[in-house]
């Protein structure tokens, strides 16, 4: 039931996303433009501007929601999220480094590769720390440190940036946006994200067993090193590829599992599909809002998700001191 509602929300929001934009296309023109027909302008607007935008919002959102749910399950902590533990910041740094070196212009794949490498490196570091210390609090603190470090390195690159225009481009990219993306962005990110989704989905049973702690999970036959590896790789693929094409979009992975959790039996595996669908719906909605809130000047979707997500996180921290999740 929950999954059906969320899937329907994704569908409706995808259609809404396709119908909204500065070009004044009516419903008929939009539909005919989308399915190869009608006049050429409508076709270009629909197929090359609005469709990639809607698809990216949906798929990047799915990846963020899913990886948030999986990380919360692995760390047995409701405050875990790719953004909070430093993965998004590291992916951003990886991409910005590519911007700075000028390699971004050389190949379409350079920027995503940088973001992926940054994401993977941060997850490996975090898991190394987690394996040594074991405590989830340590991991979150390490993530905070990692976020700061990646942020500082990103700022350093901005300082060293040869011209103000390059700095402006980097800053704008860091705010996260789905504007002016093409189908080649979709084809670039989608296979990586789908691979990431599959890896994360494979850990469902293990995440359930982990509810009892790592020792009990291991005694139930869960191969913890393999599970950690799948989650490292899957999160890096989802968040790295998402950051590569959409910039830094925070808080989706944190907020969505919390919103859907009360409607499930709270087993981590029951949370994966609703979190994925919810993430897609939330990012689609945020991207639509980014276009509508200030009609004359489009907002960056990353700014919007942070504006909603940060107060939510604060509320979560205050509430978690009073009750258990």
């Amino acid at each position: 039931m929950l999954n059906a509602v969320l899937a329907l929300a994704c569908l409706v929001l995808t259609v809404a996303s396709l119908l909204i934009g500065p070009a004044d296309l009516d419903l008929t023109a939009s539909v005919t433009g989308l399915f190869a027909g009608g006049d050429e302008a409508a076709m270009i607007i629909m197929q090359e501007i609005r469709l990639p935008r809607a698809l990216l919002a949906l798929t990047v959102g799915i990846g963020l929601g899913l990886s948030g749910a999986v990380l919360q399950g692995l760390l047995r902590n409701p405050l875990a999220e790719p953004g909070i533990i430093g993965i998004t910041a590291s992916a951003s740094f990886g991409a910005v480094a590519i911007f700075y070196t000028g390699l971004a212009g050389a190949s379409l794949y350079a920027l995503p590769a940088g973001a992926l490498a940054g994401a993977a490196l941060s997850v490996v570091l975090l898991l190394g720390i987690a394996a040594r210390a074991g405590a989830t609090l340590t991991l979150i603190l390490a993530g905070v440190a990692l976020t700061s470090l990646a942020g500082a390195l990103t700022s350093l690159i901005l300082n060293l940036s040869p011209n103000p225009f390059a700095s402006y481009e980097i800053i704008f990219w860091l705010l996260g946006s789905l504007r002016d993306r093409s189908m080649s962005h979709v084809w670039l990110a989608l296979p990586l994200m789908v691979a990431g989704w599959l890896m994360l989905a494979m850990t469902a049973r293990a995440l359930d067993a982990l509810s009892l702690g790592e020792e009990a999970a291991a005694s139930l036959g869960v191969k913890l090193p393999l599970v950690r590896l799948l989650i490292v790789a899957g999160t890096a693929l989802c968040v790295g590829a998402g950051t590569a094409v959409a910039g830094a979009i925070g808080f989706v992975g944190l907020v969505v599992p919390h919103l859907v959790r009360p409607f499930t039996d709270r087993l981590p595996s029951s949370l994966l599909l609703p979190s994925a669908l919810g993430g897609g719906a939330l990012l689609l909605a945020a991207d639509i809002a980014a276009r509508l809130v200030v009609p004359t000047r489009e907002l960056n979707v990353g700014v919007l998700t942070a504006l909603i997500g940060a107060p939510f996180f604060l509320w979560l921290v205050v509430r978690s001191r009073r009750e258990l999740f």
């Binding site: 702690g213 020792e215 005694s219 036959g221 709270r266 087993l267 258990l324």
Partner: protein, 261 residues
């Protein structure tokens, strides 16, 4: 059922267990006793295959190193001392996690369901099936987690201080449930700190001291005044009634313990 030979375990380079030999048979409850920090938990984790070890551990004739994690999880169930449940799950869902090593790709089989139901009945938590486990009392949580271990339906169950923090009645309920499980042909290995509880509910006692087995045998043979002085450094009043031994520590022992290392 379980045979460990020349078992040694080191943690971060520090030797914890030194050439331990141990046998557990079907139908018996074996108690593991010893002071804090002598490696009781380490021994239990090693027997469950959760720690790297030297020597050999065979369960049902199969070497622990040569079987998959899943096969191992069908032979040994482990009830850790820490009662940590991360999410507000229902009692039934917690017990159902025990079926992880038995489930295929599909859903729950009839055998899975039966195992869960009978384990919940054995631990007297069937009435709590729909309750949220994080809202239960400590004693109820301990029983739910014990039911989880029983529902794994393994021939060997290793329980690390399952009665810690329980009131006397719940301690006895727990031990009675473990005894009933042993009577059904399983082997139970349980670490305890309560001497009387161990003496009355265990078929055999293994006393450990500094990473080695000090002595092993029937409670009346192992829990002697000398052994208690040597292993725990205590003096105890040792008596017996119609149900078995009664041991009450009366003070710290005054004589120097016999050197055994």
């Amino acid at each position: 059922m379980l045979a460990a030979r020349n078992l040694s375990v080191s943690l971060s380079g520090r030797p914890i267990l030194n050439s331990v030999d141990l046998d557990l048979g079907r139908g018996e409850v074996v108690g593991l006793l010893g002071p804090n920090g002598v490696g009781k938990s380490t021994l239990m984790r090693a027997l469950c295959g959760l720690l790297p070890f030297k020597g050999s551990i065979r369960i049902d004739g199969r070497a622990l190193g040569s079987i998959t994690e899943r096969e191992r999880a069908r032979l040994v169930a482990f009830l850790p001392q820490a009662r940590a449940i991360a999410w507000p799950l229902s009692v039934e869902n917690v017990v159902r996690l025990a079926r992880t090593p038995w489930r295929g790709m599909g859903g729950f089989s009839e055998r899975d369901t039966n195992a869960v139901v009978s384990a919940m009945e054995a631990m007297d938590v069937a009435d709590l099936a729909d309750r949220t486990v994080t809202e239960l009392s400590g004693g109820e949580q301990a029983r739910v987690l014990a039911a989880r271990a029983l529902a794994q339906e393994t021939p060997l169950l290793i329980a690390d201080e399952p009665v810690a923090g329980l009131d006397p009645a719940h301690q006895m309920t727990m031990m009675a449930a473990l005894r009933a499980h042993a009577a059904a042909g399983k082997a139970i290995f349980v670490s305890l700190h309560d001497l009387t509880l161990a003496a009355r509910w265990c078929d055999r006692i293994i006393l450990t001291k500094s990473g080695r087995i000090y002595t092993a045998g029937r409670p009346t043979e192992t829990l002697t005044a000398t052994a208690l002085a040597d292993v725990f450094g205590i003096e105890a009043m040792i008596a017996s009634d119609s149900c078995g031994m009664v041991l009450a520590p009366t003070g710290l022992s005054t004589h120097e313990p016999t050197e055994t290392d």
